[in-house]
Symmetry: C2
Subunit: 199 residues, 2 copies
């Protein structure tokens, strides 16, 4: 297996091409760190984007399919989707407004998603969802019974057309602006467990 | 102006309808708190979902349009988009795997996005982007010159078809499961400025 995903016409970055990443391990890492993905699908030309839980197993993304699955009924061969995963990692405060930006790592995966029928594969996906939240949780909690498995819609998207876009590092200002008396820098951001938050 | 957005056929929640929110102030709050939105658009039946900076001004969402703007050229009347904004707020660890969930607040806005031409409106949008990162930043940093304004693509989506979906509060387990010897609870999550993160 290659260390990088192949670049296709649809995954080649046109804008800011230097931020493109096709490296398999870097893409896995982004997918494995994020809790939520955004699933895009189109219905009669109107796009819809739905946030949902997901997990990667090997070269496939599994995601909860309540919304997308409605349109899947009757469609064999799967439905075209775009799954996007974004980690927001910093506010980039430049000396000029124009160069303000964010640090982030994001993955865009294109392809056709199909509903899983096989109960064993469903179990495997649910296990991946759960272990992602808290490692070990699958064995701690009561595992799904047959009725619950039937009530769960999970879709699979094979990772074939995939790209990442990554901005890291410091502010990039225009040469003339570095002399301006303006504080500039990156404020790192992180999603954390926060016991202070009101429940 | 009504306190709630009208419910349309496309924004009526079918699944978990009790989590639907159409209240204007609640929807504004979600949009104003999030740094990133996910913009969905379709090209020849293939959906694409791109993360980007955005800000709300009144009843419109403004967003950076580098990706979507390419397909806009030549299209008058705008392009159908879906803008989705998600705040992940907690891991919900139930006694059963089936009832594991997340706390979140998300907004889905549907409509046609158009490119902004008016330099004054562009400035207003850039100001909103910047003030959202750090209040006061617009006046601290060097403001855009004419060339930079021309190089910036910004799109506007009027907030007309909008819904939010919100899960808050505690674990909801099946009645029989409460007696199980399994720890259950919500781990609150929050995006924070984190000076410990390596830059």
């Amino acid at each position: 297996m290659s260390n990088s995903f192949p670049i296709t016409e649809r995954t080649r970055l046109v804008r800011e091409a230097h931020r493109a990443v096709y490296d398999r391990e870097a893409i896995y890492k982004i997918l494995d760190e994020a809790f939520v993905c955004h699933v895009g699908f189109a219905q009669e030309g109107q796009p819809f984007v739905i946030p949902t839980m997901f997990a990667r197993i090997g070269d496939a993304i599994y995601f909860h399919g309540s919304a997308a699955s409605r349109m899947l009924r009757g469609l064999s061969g799967g439905v075209p989707v775009c799954i996007t995963v974004t980690l927001m990692e910093g506010l980039v405060l430049a000396r000029s407004i124009f160069n303000h930006s964010m640090n982030y790592r994001s993955v865009v995966a294109l392809g056709k998603a199909t509903l899983i029928d096989d109960p064993a594969e469903k179990l495997q996906a649910l296990r991946a969802f759960t272990e992602k939240l808290i490692p070990g949780r699958w064995n701690d909690a009561r595992q799904p019974n047959e009725k619950e498995l039937k009530a769960t819609s999970i879709l699979r998207l094979p990772l074939t057309e995939v790209s990442a876009k990554v901005r890291t590092g410091n502010v990039e200002d225009d040469a003339d602006d570095y002399a301006l008396p303006v504080w500039a820098g990156v404020i790192p951001m992180r999603l954390v467990a926060d016991p202070r938050r009101a429940m």
